[in-house]
Amino acid sequence: MIIPTSYYLVLSGVLFGLGVVAFIFKRNVIAVFMSIELMLNAVNLAFVAFARAHQQLDGLVFVFFVIVVAAAEAAVGLAIVIMLAQNRESLNVERVNLLKF
């Protein structure tokens, strides 16, 4: 009994959507970051599934790259978060609203 690719893809779609919702919904900066990670993961799943479906390794390689990017982004992002927390005593993105008119 083999599992159709569409299952995986739909799953990844759902995860991605949830990631988007989380991205909007969460107020905590770190959590927002996590939702980004979630989206990336969803995309990875799609990549692997396609790679499997077309019997090509490129998808896997791309997953590899995505993971690398995610790692880099986490490193810098979290450093920024720390700075943020030190400069203004709140992790709530809505309270960090200097970037405006």
Partner: protein, 169 residues
Amino acid sequence: MIVPLIVFFACAALAVTGAILLILAREPIHSALSLILVMVSLAILYLLLGAEFISAIQIIVYAGAVMVLFVFVIMLLNAGVEERTDFSKFAKFAGLPLGFFLLIEVARWMYGASAGSAIVPGADAFTQAASTRALSAELFRKYLFNFEATSILILIAILGALVLARKSQ
């Protein structure tokens, strides 16, 4: 053999619940844990898909390093319960519905996109094809430049993190 299907649905359920928990949890650390849950179940799915190496990497890098960093930061900043402010009316009334709409759209679209390629050969064949050796060959021959580029990216990330950290002291 029904086992893979069971595994798939189990992991899928875990992943989705994890994602939902990530949204609902008020403690950042719980969000982190639920995200780890998602990642682990995804790793199992990768195994199911026959991408052993990727699943291992998924665990090592994501669950083992990135998420640890998250947890570490949460602990360091002692991030408490998140306050559910709603300063942005647009986000409240338009954002979330749009988000869910997008969720449905994407899911539907993915389904449509994959409708054509539903036939999937046995995992073992792919496992052979996607052996670590083959993968590395692909990575270091065809995608060598991109690989190097990512290394530069990592380097820059490290430097950036260093600079930020230094300034913060």
